[in-house]
């Protein structure tokens, strides 16, 4: 029933974010960088990860519901 769309490729999106952060972190290592990582970067990653996990779980349930009620 449901197919993954290209914009749903969460791991790819996370990879892009991580690469950008790694690049910035190479050159940006002061106290502000640590604050940025703690108060902005980590919450962003965690929120996105939670969202992707919830989306994956939702799709599992939707697919199972369709499969298990097919008579």
């Amino acid at each position: 029933m449901t197919e993954l769309r290209p914009d749903d490729d969460g791991d790819y999106q996370l990879g892009l974010l991580d690469a950008a952060w790694d690049q910035a972190a190479l050159h940006w290592r002061d106290e502000m960088a640590r604050d940025f990582e703690r108060y902005h970067w980590t919450p962003l990653r965690q929120e996105f990860r939670s969202y992707l996990d919830a989306l994956a779980r939702l799709r599992e349930v939707l697919e199972a519901a369709e499969r298990e009620t097919e008579f």
């Binding site: 999106q13 050159h27 919450p43 939702l58 349930v61 939707l62 369709e66 009620t69 008579f71």
Partner: protein, 163 residues
Amino acid sequence: MTKIHADIEALRGLRETLARFRYDQRDARYRGEGEIEVTRGELEARASSALAWLERCRVELDACREASASSGGSGASASSASSASSASSDDCLGYERAVAEAQERLERVRRWQQRVEQAASVFYGAAMGFRDLLENDLPRTEEQLLDMITSLEAARRVQAAGS
């Protein structure tokens, strides 16, 4: 790019990545909704179909029981009534099984409907948190990065002018 500007370029790259990410994810909150609606509709149609089948099976079972009772019931003694009852369960066994199966189908669809609603509720919670981050936190983060880039650029211009 000279080494002294590498940090500025890295911050600029980070900011652009965040802005692109925010744009790419702008429909995130709608992403699961269409799929939830499709499954809801599908399950509702299956529940209706299972209910209609159950009702039909019940009608057939009732008719069978009536037919069995009337064929063995008129002027019957206690012993023949008992035999009519026994004949009824034999003749109508198939219908009884069909009713039980139809009931099980309907209950299964109803259970999955509940599970879908629970999963949808959990998803909406996560999607709302992510949406808030996209709409409120992320623009502020981008602004903060822009301020830092601007400050660094200004400081370098002062340094360059003073050197």
